[in-house]
């Protein structure tokens, strides 16, 4: 990946999430609320030219994102990991079956760094479920610039024609 965008390792990581989406030509974000992602969602409305759609449920958000991508606009989903658990049927029957390339930026709640204890069951189930439904994913490496990792995830989604979930830690997305 020698031509990947140069990015300072100490850059403000949440800002770099939005910067990466802008740089890669993303035209739309579809989101469902989450505490960690909340400010990134809010800032995506005021700081970018991206169209932001707020959905009522993650499976609905997935279908909206498929529709926007079908219409020719590069699209990212911003959802909590619990939301990916609840979109399983749409994931396999729509997004994967029709081979929609989608970047999914997923807050990884329920890890040991998450102070909200009731997220733990979701954290435990996340990666086994992802593997079970064949959802390609990666965990962000906190020691590497995040913009580069978003670019790699987005590229994977396009090259493989499938959704790709990038699991984000609190420091990646909390402002």
């Amino acid at each position: 990946m020698t031509r990947l965008h140069a990015e300072r390792a100490d850059a403000h990581r949440p800002s770099e999430v939005l910067n990466a989406l802008k740089r890669l030509g993303f035209g739309a974000v579809v989101s469902v609320p989450d505490g960690w992602l909340g400010k990134t969602m809010a800032r995506s409305v005021v700081e970018t030219a991206m169209r932001v759609v707020r959905a009522t449920h993650e499976e609905e958000a997935l279908a909206i994102a498929c529709g926007i991508r079908l219409g020719g606009i590069r699209t990212a989903l911003l959802v909590q990991n619990a939301g990916v658990l609840s979109m399983g049927a749409g994931m396999v029957c729509l997004a994967q079956r029709y081979q929609f390339p989608l970047l999914m930026l997923v807050s990884y709640r329920g890890t040991p760094e998450d102070a909200v204890f009731y997220h733990v069951p979701k954290g435990r189930a996340t990666e086994p479920v992802f593997r079970g439904i064949g959802l390609s994913y990666a965990r962000v490496d906190r020691h590497r610039p995040i913009g580069t990792q978003i670019e790699q995830a987005a590229t994977y989604a396009e090259e493989a024609s499938c959704p790709f979930a990038l699991l984000l830690s609190r420091e990646d997305i909390q402002w």
Binding site: V53, A55, E60, I64, R69, G71, A89, E151
Partner: protein, 209 residues
């Protein structure tokens, strides 16, 4: 509300085919919603759902957002709508003028054998209005559907038309194989949607972005 002596899906589809706005993109939900439309009006500007019940409406919403200059018509069933009723609220919030939502209200889950819907008698047009889609009506006459479609270009928001329909439990055999990936590729090619241009070492983008 569902009344007696309802028209069939075929009656409505004939009216739709005869009054389809120029450049319209049509999204059809699973089962006969797709099969019968393919039998009557197959073309690359149709996006057929194979499964994913309840997701035709939100996908069509995304398509309408991405293609604001093209009329987008989605045909969803009442059962599918009940599965993802929140999508109606999101349509109401965005209210794209190029989106026409057609709900086949037959009171049953036709694609799975005709099981009666949970609360089959709901006033879905009232529900749509409450969700923010001001132009929402119950329709019992295919001719009224044709009149509504003819007037669609002058709207200032989305429209939801609930079509009282006789259940059709016999599966219509589509004239072509509705391969999902081919459906998507043909649809995007017909739209002229930009291709993804890869870059060997990362950083690929869609054409023109």
């Amino acid at each position: 509300m569902v009344r007696a002596a309802r028209p069939t899906r075929a009656d409505y589809y004939k009216a739709l085919a005869g009054s389809l706005p120029s450049g319209a993109l049509v999204v059809t939900s699973l089962g006969n919603a797709s099969y019968q439309w393919a039998a009557l009006h197959h073309g690359p500007e149709n996006f057929y759902f194979e499964d994913a019940m309840g997701l035709a409406l939100p996908l069509a919403l995304g398509l309408a957002v991405a293609q604001p200059s093209r009329p987008v018509i989605v045909i969803e069933g009442d059962g599918g709508l009940l599965m993802h009723m929140g999508a109606l609220v999101t349509v109401g919030a965005i209210n794209p003028a190029n989106l026409t939502v057609l709900i086949i209200q037959n009171g049953v889950h036709a694609a799975s054998g005709g099981q009666v819907l949970t609360n089959a008698g709901l006033d879905l047009a009232l529900l749509a209005r409450s969700s923010g889609i001001a132009r929402s009506d119950n329709i019992w006459d295919p001719e009224v559907l044709a009149q509504k479609l003819a007037a669609a270009s002058s709207r200032d928001g989305a429209e939801c038309l609930v079509l009282a329909t006789e259940p059709d439990l016999d599966v219509v055999r589509p004239p072509v194989t509705l391969d999902p990936v081919l459906t998507k590729h043909h649809f995007m090619a017909a739209l002229g949607a930009p291709r993804y241009v890869p870059a060997v070492f990362g950083g690929g983008k869609l054409e023109g972005s």
